[in-house]
Symmetry: C2
Subunit: 343 residues, 2 copies
Amino acid sequence: MILQNDLLLRTARGELTERVPVWMMRQAGRVLAQYRAVRERAGSFITLAKTPELAAEVTIQPVDAFEVDAAIIFSDILVVPEAMGLPYEMIEARGPVFPQTVRSSADLSRLHVADAETDLGYVLDAIRLTKRELNGRVPLIGFAGAPFTIFCYMTEGKGSKTFSVAKKLLYTDPHFAHTLLRQITDSTIAYLKAQIRAGADLIQLFDSWAGILSPEQYRTFSLPYIKQICDAITEVPVTVFAKGAFFARHEIGQLDCQVVGLDWNMDPAESRTLVPNKVLQGNLDPCVLYADFAQIRTEVKQMLDAFGHQHYIANLGHGIYPDTDPDKARCFVDAVKELSAQR
Amino acid sequence: MILQNDLLLRTARGELTERVPVWMMRQAGRVLAQYRAVRERAGSFITLAKTPELAAEVTIQPVDAFEVDAAIIFSDILVVPEAMGLPYEMIEARGPVFPQTVRSSADLSRLHVADAETDLGYVLDAIRLTKRELNGRVPLIGFAGAPFTIFCYMTEGKGSKTFSVAKKLLYTDPHFAHTLLRQITDSTIAYLKAQIRAGADLIQLFDSWAGILSPEQYRTFSLPYIKQICDAITEVPVTVFAKGAFFARHEIGQLDCQVVGLDWNMDPAESRTLVPNKVLQGNLDPCVLYADFAQIRTEVKQMLDAFGHQHYIANLGHGIYPDTDPDKARCFVDAVKELSAQR
């Protein structure tokens, strides 16, 4: 199917484009009343994520509401550990919790490398359905967590400010850590390739907990596995977004990926210097969307000026906060489109 | 009183020294069994912090146990908002909670600029008592939270991964934000000057939540208030530790402080370039203390080599984790002393 709006893909491939493409991390979610209605109907987050019809519906909502240049499949990075044999629950106001964790080589016998078609068929169905319903309006982004971030949840068992249980294992049992990271990586590659076969037009890797590692640990326990994934995914462009890994920008820029995502701590000009040959994506502080419309436009203009209008995908520096006024989100998208249009 | 070990102060003042001084953030705390015994006796964290005899006792424990080159007064950064009229509770396994918060100019009428002698006399008593009991063995470090970090707690009311309530106010009501930040700053300066009069030999400012701000917001809402404090404190050396503010290192290096603290994400060599004229402090990942003794020594050696042995104070990049083996902490301290001694 021919895409009517392929701006994101042309930009990701390094082409010069007529304006800056824009989408928002977590654009499908609680910020939209129409999402909350579907979520209510589903009964739980996990049911919503596992019902392809509903997942497709909420994936497309922000394309209608905000006219963003891409949809991103509604799912969760933790479906991969679940598919490997480690189920989780989503506890309201607390986040994900794994009743069982994996903390030693003995625990690995409970896991298997995920088979995407059988273990994650519901995500693939959601992608196929979304592609059909999008009918070529915009590209569809598939995604997965980076192996180290998934490792954090599988070992710690829940969110944490420090993930000191997970990090402790890197020092006390590096052999176990690398074995688990390899299993996650193999599962993730198979999963992403299945997403692409199902129709995903671009893949984003989220290394959400990159920022808890020292540069040296990051080089040892995260980057090599991201590299394996980048090397394996050759069919579509790949975006690597490692939140907090300001210290690894140059090395991420050396990977075989097309786009590097930035959080709002990372200076655009400095990032251009550190990552000269990639498309950059980001990085407005999601809190800017609490400001008034005029200030949002001012901040968008500053951001566009700082990144330049080519080789750049506008986005927030992190997921949009659920209590954001949707009109402010729309203002962000509109401002990028208007202010970056070439005349 | 003449200090028998003034290594930390000589280093902080920029003098060349015979070896690298070393202490650990949160060295007085749950890592020590003797601390846990006193904490048990006190009944609560807040009672412990408010009883000068007990606070002095736990302040000195790590000087005995680890032979560190400095004591840091056992207290909490949130005593300042409490002294301004906003009491808090410390909830086990959850952290600090403020039953009331301050979120608009109207709420400011409930607050006053803290009077250190009347509102925080128990900290000053603890400092005086500690100085007497230390009897000149090592210097005593006083401290406070940086105004932006205190602002985060006073407005959000509790710890948070994003502090989006606090950050929202920076956009929706900057006038209120600056007014509250000024009140916190005035309270903090008075408090730190009182700490110095009571005997504190060096002051450390903790901007624990610096890393949630964009560089521009940090320049607007945090740095100017840290600057006011640095300008006001002329009696003793000042250390500024802004966790996560990698992007502000150069600007922090321009402040009238003597020492700049670094977290473990920040590369030593890069930090030397960005902050050429200050003493640096840090920055071992506290998780390294989960490794075996040989690896701890290796990591300490790498750190010393990277920072160099002058104009440098060895420390962790964040507070020591409570479940650290005290022998590993001792290994860290011993390794710094042995490996940095000039022959």
